[in-house]
């Protein structure tokens, strides 16, 4: 019994569920005072200190600011190795960290245009939760 309880706790069901707006829809915040767009979501605007922040849905396009290929992954990501994690400058301003997908290691460049897609981020074993969320890939069209 104790083992089972631990397992459910380690899946962090509530935390994953709370992050759905960010992960599925790229919803962050727009500051009503200074107009800056924020991602991920925050309570206080880091630019002007205002607490008047409204939900804002990002368009999901940007460019690669820097990137790194991962060979020694954290637990839960072993199956994807090697994979590339990038810092992406969204068109609306914020820098976000995300895994790249549908790329080959040799095909990634700084400044490359990328777009958000929803993919499997990880799963908690064959019996556990599957976590979905944003990754980025080279823009297919337009």
């Amino acid at each position: 019994m104790a083992r089972k309880k631990r397992k459910v706790k380690s899946m962090s069901l509530a935390r994953h569920w709370r992050l759905q707006d960010e992960r599925y829809k790229l919803i962050g915040r727009e500051c009503a005072a200074c107009g800056k767009k924020l991602f991920p979501t925050r309570d206080i605007c880091p630019h002007c200190g205002s607490r008047d922040l409204k939900p804002y849905r990002f368009a999901g396009r940007g460019e690669i600011y820097s990137y790194s290929t991962i060979y020694q992954p954290p637990a839960g990501y072993e199956g994807f190795v090697p994979y590339t994690v990038a810092l992406i400058r969204l068109d609306e301003g914020p820098l976000i960290t995300a895994q790249l997908t549908d790329v080959d290691r040799e095909g990634v460049e700084i400044g490359q245009r990328v777009e958000m897609v929803t993919r499997r981020l990880r799963e908690y074993g064959p019996e556990g939760l599957i976590v979905y969320g944003y990754k980025f890939r080279p823009v297919l069209k337009g």
Binding site: T101, V117, R120, L121
Partner: protein, 347 residues
């Protein structure tokens, strides 16, 4: 069949994963068939499944329809490769699209015709006035046992259709017809990873009987013959079956060609005829009439007739077409394929 209130497709979109394995590469490993009738098939990446593919197809449909996702009254996904045995695929798709919480969501099942099943239901839902728009998706990451004949064709992909009022449609429904019987041609029991199929039994009593009868009855009901159609799309389990039934019904190779994708992407099961239909819509001109005929083992066929309107022509270069996904391809070898399909675990 047709609802009292006229309906049509107001947006559609497709998705095919990037990876391809060539049929001759599978043959190199297994040497299990004597001749190959297709070039290659699509393979999902490590982070892809029915849910992620449904989301991208539906986002493409939403972009084309240019509607607020909150106006979608139903999100229905037809598939036989659900990532969860219990927990709907449709709620995750609906959440990702921004259609929740004031909507209906459910998964549909009928082997390879689950997608057109969801379309039929969406037609009824919108046609009865219960929803302004309804989203129907046919999508699969198909399973075939390594070395089995099915391994040469079982692929991945899908297409999404937003049903709405005829006035807003890019193709309106003229009628539909369904034809089913208890036929044990192909099945998978619970907790089994791969399906069983009845080899030669899958042809005449299953595929041909149901597709032929559904198509024939629908054309009779509508007063049409094959000459009244610009294009025809059948479920595509291989390259022979759809060609043969098209010929028997009196359709030409030219009518079949726009939606005939099996040779380059394989059989995406519940995504197969919906993807072919999306490819046909990509080519359609106003006034073009299209016959869509699905097939699901077990067995049954849905036949639907749509006619394209002036709104089929969209001069938007950012809209992704089926051919864009077909030409986006990265070839993999059999070893990589085994890794991507998790075939190294003993199923």
């Amino acid at each position: 069949m047709k609802p009292n209130r006229e309906v049509g497709i107001i947006g559609y979109g497709a998705y095919i994963p990037r990876y391809r394995i060539r049929a001759d590469e599978i043959l190199r490993v297994w040497k299990s068939i004597d001749s190959i009738h297709l070039e290659e098939k699509s393979v999902p990446g490590l982070d892809e499944d029915t849910i992620t593919m449904a989301i991208e197809a539906a986002r493409n449909a939403l972009k084309r329809a240019a509607i607020d996702p909150q106006e979608i009254g139903a999100v229905w996904v037809g598939s036989e490769s659900k990532p969860y045995a219990v927990k709907p695929t449709a709620t995750i798709v609906a959440e990702a699209l921004g259609a929740t919480p004031h909507t209906n969501a459910a998964d549909w099942e009928f082997a390879c015709k689950a997608g057109t099943e969801a379309m039929q239901a969406a037609i009824g839902f919108v046609g009865s006035g219960m929803a302004k728009y309804a989203l129907a998706i046919g999508v699969d990451t198909a399973q075939g046992r390594p070395g089995d004949q099915l391994e040469y064709t079982a692929s991945a992909g899908g297409a999404a259709f937003i049903i709405g009022p005829k006035e807003e449609s890019l193709a309106y429904l003229e009628g539909s017809y369904s034809y089913v019987s208890d036929t044990p041609d192909f099945f998978r029991r619970p907790h089994q990873y791969y399906p069983q199929h009845g080899h030669r039994f899958t042809g005449e009593p299953a595929y041909f009987k149901h597709t032929y009868c559904a198509a024939q009855h629908l054309m009779e009901e509508l007063g049409y013959t094959p000459r009244d159609y610009a294009m025809v799309v059948f479920h595509q389990p291989n390259s022979k079956f759809p060609r043969r039934v098209a010929q028997r019904l009196g359709f030409t190779e030219e009518q079949l060609k726009p939606g005939f994708l099996v040779e380059v992407i394989g059989n995406a099961y519940a995504g197969s005829s919906p993807l072919g239909f999306a490819a046909a819509l990509d080519e359609a001109q106003p006034g073009d009439r299209i016959l869509l005929v699905s097939f699901g083992s077990g067995a049954g066929s849905d036949a639907l007739t749509f006619t394209a309107t002036e709104q089929i022509v969209k001069n938007d270069d950012t809209l992704l077409r089926v051919r864009d996904y077909i030409s986006r391809r990265r070839e993999i070898d059999y070893g990589t394929y085994c890794r991507y399909r998790d075939n190294l675990n003993n199923h």
